[in-house]
Each structure stands twice: as structure tokens, then as C-alpha cells.
Amino acid sequence: MTEPPGARPAASTKVRRRGSLQLRHVDVGSCNGCEIEIASAFGPTYDAGRFGARLVASPRHADGVLVTGVVTRNMAGPLRRTLDALPAPSVVVACGDCAVGGGIFKDAYGVEGTLGDVVPIDIEIPGCPPHPASITDAMRSLTGR
């Protein structure tokens, strides 16, 4: 059932995680398309869990944030607090076109800006919504498995 693990993607130069990656997911203004794809990335078919990645409840437990959506005004504060709650070293993963570059909501009312305006992005996962396989590949580039 599970897709065979393709070739190991190039490891990210940002940090060495040696097979373990915990992410806190933050939705700062997404249409929930990315959420569905993230869920299926951890489902039986793509099974990102087998490469050592996991979503966790607390940013204290996490190695980084997995951000979806454009940064709306109401979520800008919570996003900053979440980033502050991460223990170093940490990464910021932008998931989906909205997070990467603003997407179709870029200049909409109530939007503060793109994720890149708030915090430097380490890994970008393009797509609207991104394919589960590319989400999994991004995780693998961080875990190095």
C-alpha cells in the first residue's frame, strides 16, 4: 500500500537532524487545502512518519514550525509567539503557495504579509495545494533519511 521510498532527496544544509524531526503545525490563514495534504502525507500512502518526522502539540517539543497560509493580522501575534516558544536550533517550513509567496490571497484585506515578511523561511514547499509527496520530500530533506 505504502508508496516505495524514492531516492533520498538532498539533505538540507540548514541543520543536521539525524533522523528525527518534530514539527508544530501553525495555520496562519490557510484555506485548509494544505491541511488535507499534510494529513495524507502522514497517512498510510506517503507515510512521512517512517522517515522520522512527526507533528507535535507543543512548540517546546518541536524542531520547527510547519506554516500554512498567508499571515493574517489576527494570526501574526500567535505566529511570533510560537516562533519564540521554539527551542533552538529551529527551522521554519513554509507549506503551500500562500505561505511561500502569498498565493491568491496576497493582497487581500486583513493580510499582514507573507511568511517571509515575518520570519526567514528555511524550506519552501510550493504547490496549491502541495502534493503529499513533496511535503514528504521536504521532511526527508530535513531528517536526512
Binding site: S58, A85, P87
Partner: protein, 666 residues
């Protein structure tokens, strides 16, 4: 013995000075004298426990008609030592604590009297002497509870409850002892003990039941406990500590002295009854402690819990001794005494700590406390240590007592009758359950009261209390650690007392050395080694972690799921902490829960205000005491109808009564 008399004299002088001297001097002088008296009493009890032969004093001058007889034997000495320990700490505490009402003339006069009576009750060796000091104890403690009656209505209510119940109890004890005296050919304990064997069965059992009623009430055993959760919290802190640590113990002493010593063991069902009361008390007290949100109220209920366990031990020991299992009986008895001594230490420390919190934050309502650990570091540290002791963390005193008790119950299982077996079994169950519930109650007490953020302005402005109060609390923490690490130091003494109390005549103590290696059974606990192992493990983990950790620490805001503000009101309160357990035991606790929702006028889907109230009342009080009191009220109202103030009517009543008597006699 002579040292003890000196101690009693010092207390008397302290009381006089407290009554006569002006305000600042009377507190200092009476406190110092009580401290000296406690030291003397401690020394005399130690010498009695180490085996100096039993001495007796008789004086006809002090008490008219009957004279006063006092004997210091090992059993009594244990209880003298308990009082001395708590009284010493309390007198130091007073130096820092006393302001306002407690500095009053009556308070500084009465506190030494209370200590004096507590020291004298265990050495009283005749019915008259015992009753004299018992009443003195009751009266002085009652008046001490009432000291703050001007400021708080609850104190008045508590005094009334305590006074009524303690007098009924004293009456019951007196009746029971009178039964013994009538049959015993004299009112001295020696003659009662000598004649006890010849007593008719019914008389013995009646006497024991009457005495048990009175002493169990003093010990705070359910269902005669109703005064305790009212009186202990309302009394000034030093008095609460003395009442909970020492006075409650005199109830246990009375049961032992009369049932075990004077009546020579008695019959099986007595002890099964004692153990049954103990089981009910242990579970009831522990459960209510988890539901209480008043810091001192929680401690009061936990007193009922621990004394319940002690009574389980006493009852099991009595039952085992009656069925001829002396080794196990002695072991269980020693466990009960050790638990009682440990209780005096940790509960004393907890009450003194709670008093310090009350002083520093201006409230003892856990729902208004919090954040004290950083504001009152010393008090919090000592309170934490006492908390760990009562939770029975291994290598602390509470654990030593509970471990011995479990061993006693377990090794009593072999070859006994069915009632004893069931008693022991239920004792084990009670011990286990109360252990778990106590942990919940005290995690709540310390975690909600001292950790987190301050929940009220008072708590956020708290400042550390005077040194004397810290020192006193610390003093009581010493036995908490010492009896945990080296319980063997006092086990031989307690063995003596247990033998004395139950006439067991065992030749060697239950355990040898400073640790607990049982001499007659297969079982051992060496706290020093376990403590060393714990220390080694802690050190190893610390070293490994600091070597492996590659980054430092950073202080950040608490993680509140990204919310704007993290206010103290978002924390769990004491009520919410205990709520899950309250749901589990809803049939026992029967809480009153009120939820009042005020809706917006525009739509009922929006709420304007929510009022939630959750009150746990004492179920026994509600279902037993209230109806009785209501009955008395109705009777009182009916009687009042007869009285209209007319002197003629009263004379007419008298006349009619006289006529009735004459007719009946004719």
C-alpha cells in the same frame, strides 16, 4: 519523672507570667518557658523510653478528695514526647507569629495551660487525675479556638461545635471509667488493672465502648469527627498545630491505655470495631482532603485520614494480640505509634507552614493563592518537604510508618480467625487507597497553593515571614527526615511502649539497627542505602545531562497556545483540580453544584455571565448531625412554649412535680 514535674511547673509559671506581664514581655517569657518545659518533658520521656524504671508520684495537695497520681511509663512517654516535640516548635513559632488576638492576655495565659494538660494526660494514673487534665485540655483548647471570635463568625461556630462534642465525649469517658472504678475497687489505674480480670464481661465491654466513644471523638474518628474540620482551621495556627499533632494523639492514647493496658486486651470485636472506625476515617478523611480548597481544612481532613490509619494499626494489633499472634501484633502496634509520631512532625510542620502562608498572603483559600514558591522560598521549601513526607516518599518519615504498617498487616495474615483476616485485608485496602488519595490532596495543596501564578493581590504581594516561624517549621521537618532515614533510632523505644500497651512481653524489638530489618519476619527496608542510591542516581543523571547538553537555558513566556494573554485566572484552581475525583466519588462526597447562566437579552445563545459554585459539605455532618441538632431545636422550641416568664407558672410546675412524686411514691 521529676523532670516532667519540672516541665509541668514551668508551664504553670509560663501561664501565670502570660496573665500578669505586659504585652510584649508576656509572649516572649511564656514562649521561652514553654520551650524549656518541652525540653524537660522530652528529656524525661526519653529516659523513660530508654528503660529507667517506671516511677510514680502521688500528691494529695494538688487535687482535693482523691489526690493526684502520676506515672511515667513507656506508653505514656511516647505521647509526652509527641507533645514536647510539637510544643517546642510552637513556642518558637509564637515568638514570630504573635500579633493581634493571640497576643492577648487570655491567649498567652491559656497556651501554656494547654501544653501542660497535654503533657499531663499521658502520665495521669488515676481516674480523677485523668479526668482533671482531660477537662483542662478541653477547656483550654476550646477557649483558644475562641480567641479570634471577634473577627470571624466561623470561630464562634467552631467553638460551639468543639465544646459540645468534647464535653459529650468527656462525659462518655467518665461514665466508662466509673464503670471500671465501681467494679475495680478503686480509682487508681493500678487497682483497676488488677481487678480487670474479674470484671463481668458485660461491664468490661460497656466500659470499653463508652470510653471508645469519647476517645475516638477526640481522635477525630468518623463519624465522631464533626468538630475537627471546623476547629482545626479556625484555631490560631499554633493551636491548630498542637491540636492536630498532639491532642488528637491523646485520643489514641486513651484507647490504648484503657483497652490494651487496663483491660488487658479484651475481646476480638473491640479491636475489629476500632479498626473498622479507622478504615472509615482513613478513606473519608482522605477523600474530603482531595475535595477541600481551604488549606487548613485540607490539613484537618488529612489528620482524620492519618489517625484513621493509626487506628487501623491499633485495631489490627489488638485483634492480633487477642488471637495470640504476638509478633505481628507488636509489629503493627509499633507501626501505628511510628505513624503517630511522624504525623505529629509532618502535620505540625504543615500547619505551621499554612499559618505562615495565611500570614504572608492574607488568605488560606487555595483558590486565591499561587506563586508563593518564588516569594516565600524558605517556607515553601519546608512545606514541600513536609508534603513529600505525608505523601510517603520513601526515605521520609511517613513512608517508614506506612511500610511498617503494611508489614504488620501482611505478616498478620497467617493462621488467624476470619474476622481478623477481614480486618487486616480491609486495612491493607484502606492503606493503599488512602495513599493514592493523599497524593492527590497534597499535590493540590502544594501545586495550587505555592506554584504557578498568584491568583490574588494578597498572594502576589506576599513577603517571607519572620525567622522564628521559619525556624519552628524547620524544627519539625528534622524528625520528618530523621525518622525516615533512620527509623531504627526510635523503633526499640516504640517496641517497649507497644509491649507495655498490649502486655505482649516480647523479648527483642521488631527491628534492629537504624534501618528497618524485621527481626521476626521476612522483610527489610534500609532507607539509608535507598537514599544513597537515589542520590547517586540523581548525581549521575545530572552529570550525564550537563555533559551531553550542548546549549544553555532561556527564560521565555509560558506557552499558552499563542494566546494574547496568559492570565492567572486561566490556571487550574483547587476546585477544578479535585473535580475529577469528586466525580468519581460523587456518591460519597455528594457535592452541591450550582450553575447559573445569565443570557443576553437579545439571544439565549449568548451568555452574559456564568456563576459556577461547587461546595462539598461533610456528608456525615449533613445526614447525621443536622437532623439531631434540628430535633434538639424543635424540642427546645417546644419547651420554650412552657416558659412565659411568669413566676407563678414556674412555681406551679414545681408543685405539680412534687405532687406527682408523692403520688408515685405512695
Amino acid at each position: 519523672m521529676s523532670l516532667l514535674l519540672v516541665a509541668l511547673g514551668l508551664c504553670a509559671i509560663a501561664s501565670l507570667l502570660g496573665a500578669l506581664l505586659p504585652a510584649p514581655a508576656r509572649v516572649t517569657s511564656s514562649s521561652v518557658l514553654v520551650l524549656a518545659a518541652s525540653c524537660c518533658a522530652a528529656a524525661s520521656s526519653v529516659s523513660a523510653l530508654r528503660g529507667a524504671h517506671v516511677t510514680s508520684v502521688h500528691s494529695t495537695a494538688l487535687l482535693p478528695l482523691t489526690g493526684m497520681t502520676m506515672t511515667l511509663d513507656p506508653l505514656g512517654a511516647v505521647f509526652v514526647a509527641i507533645t514536647a516535640m510539637v510544643a517546642a516548635a510552637v513556642s518558637i513559632y509564637n515568638l514570630g507569629y504573635v500579633t493581634g488576638a493571640l497576643g492577648s492576655r487570655s491567649a498567652s495565659c491559656l497556651l501554656p495551660v494547654f501544653v501542660l494538660s497535654l503533657l499531663a494526660v499521658p502520665v495521669a494514673a488515676s481516674v480523677a487525675t485523668l479526668m482533671f487534665f482531660w477537662e483542662l485540655m478541653a477547656m483550654s483548647s476550646m477557649l483558644l479556638i475562641a480567641v479570634e471570635h471577634r473577627h470571624r463568625a466561623e470561630a464562634r461556630d467552631a467553638t460551639l461545635w468543639y465544646g459540645t462534642m468534647t464535653q459529650l465525649g468527656a462525659g462518655s469517658i467518665l461514665l466508662g471509667l466509673l464503670v471500671l472504678t465501681i467494679h475495680g475497687g478503686g480509682q487508681s489505674f493500678a487497682s483497676i488493672a488488677a481487678h480487670a480480670g474479674a470484671l463481668p464481661r458485660v461491664a468490661r465491654s460497656t466500659a470499653f465502648l463508652l470510653v471508645l466513644l469519647g476517645f475516638a471523638s477526640k481522635a477525630g474518628a468518623v463519624p465522631l469527627h464533626a468538630w475537627l474540620p471546623k476547629a482545626h482551621p479556625e484555631a490560631p495556627t499554633p493551636v491548630s498545630a498542637l491540636m492536630s499533632g498532639a491532642m488528637v494523639a491523646t485520643g489514641v492514647y486513651g484507647i490504648l491505655r484503657v483497652g490494651g493496658d487496663l483491660l488487658g486486651g479484651g475481646t476480638l470485636w473491640w479491636w475489629v470495631a476500632v479498626a473498622a472506625i479507622g478504615v472509615v476515617s482513613a478513606l473519608f478523611g482522605a477523600l474530603h482532603a482531595t475535595a477541600s480548597s481551604d488549606l487548613k481544612g485540607l490539613l484537618a481532613y488529612s489528620t482524620i485520614d492519618v489517625v484513621g490509619l493509626v487506628l487501623v494499626g491499633v485495631g489490627a494489633a489488638g485483634a492480633l494480640s487477642v488471637t495470640g499472634r504476638r509478633g505481628a501484633a507488636e509489629l503493627t502496634m509499633v507501626a501505628a505509634l511510628l505513624l503517630l509520631v511522624a504525623h505529629a512532625a509532618f502535620k505540625g510542620a504543615l500547619f505551621l507552614g499554612a499559618g505562615a502562608v495565611d500570614r504572608a498572603a492574607g488568605t488560606r483559600d487555595l483558590n486565591l493563592l499561587g506563586g508563593l514558591a518564588r516569594r516565600l522560598p524558605v517556607t515553601s521549601g519546608l512545606f514541600a518537604l513536609a508534603t513529600l513526607t505525608i505523601v510517603a516518599v520513601p526515605t521520609l518519615a511517613g513512608f517508614s510508618g506506612e511500610w511498617l504498617l503494611l508489614q504488620g498487616l501482611l505478616h498478620g495474615f497467617g493462621g488467624t480467625s476470619t474476622p481478623t483476616l477481614i480486618t487486616l485485608l480491609i486495612g491493607v485496602v484502606a492503606l493503599a487507597l488512602s495513599g493514592g488519595l493523599t497524593a492527590v490532596a497534597f499535590v493540590k495543596a502544594f501545586g495550587i497553593g505555592f506554584l504557578g501564578q498568584a491568583r490574588s493581590a494578597g498572594a502576589s504581594r506576599a513577603v517571607e515571614v519572620p525567622r522564628a516561624m521559619q525556624l519552628a517549621t524547620g524544627l519539625l521537618c528534622v524528625p520528618c527526615v530523621l525518622l525516615g532515614v533512620a527509623p531504627g533510632l526510635i523503633v526499640p523505644w516504640l517496641s517497649r511502649a507497644a509491649n507495655e500497651g498490649l502486655h505482649l512481653r516480647a523479648r527483642r524489638p521488631v527491628a534492629e539497627g537504624t534501618s528497618l530489618v524485621l527481626s521476626r519476619f521476612q522483610g527489610a527496608f534500609e532507607p539509608l542505602l535507598v537514599l544513597a542510591a537515589l542520590a547517586a542516581a540523581l548525581a549521575a543523571i545530572w552529570i550525564v545531562t550537563s555533559l551531553a547538553a550542548r546549549r544553555g537555558r532561556r527564560r521565555v513566556a509560558a506557552w499558552g497556545c499563542g494566546r494574547e494573554a496568559q492570565t492567572p485566572r486561566m490556571q487550574y484552581t483547587a476546585t477544578s483540580f479535585g473535580e475529577p475525583l469528586q466525580r468519581v466519588f460523587v456518591d460519597v462526597l455528594r457535592p452541591d453544584v450550582d450553575l447559573e447562566v445569565t443570557h443576553e437579552t437579545e439571544s439565549k445563545y449568548y451568555e452574559q455571565a456564568l456563576a459556577y459554585e461547587n461546595r462539598v459539605e461533610d456528608a456525615v455532618e449533613r445526614s447525621v448531625y443536622r437532623p439531631v441538632i434540628a430535633g434538639f431545636r424543635r424540642y427546645g422550641d417546644a419547651v420554650r412554649g412552657l416558659q412565659n416568664g411568669s413566676i407563678h407558672r414556674y412555681l406551679a410546675f414545681g408543685f405539680i412535680a412534687l405532687l406527682v412524686v408523692l403520688v408515685v411514691l405512695a
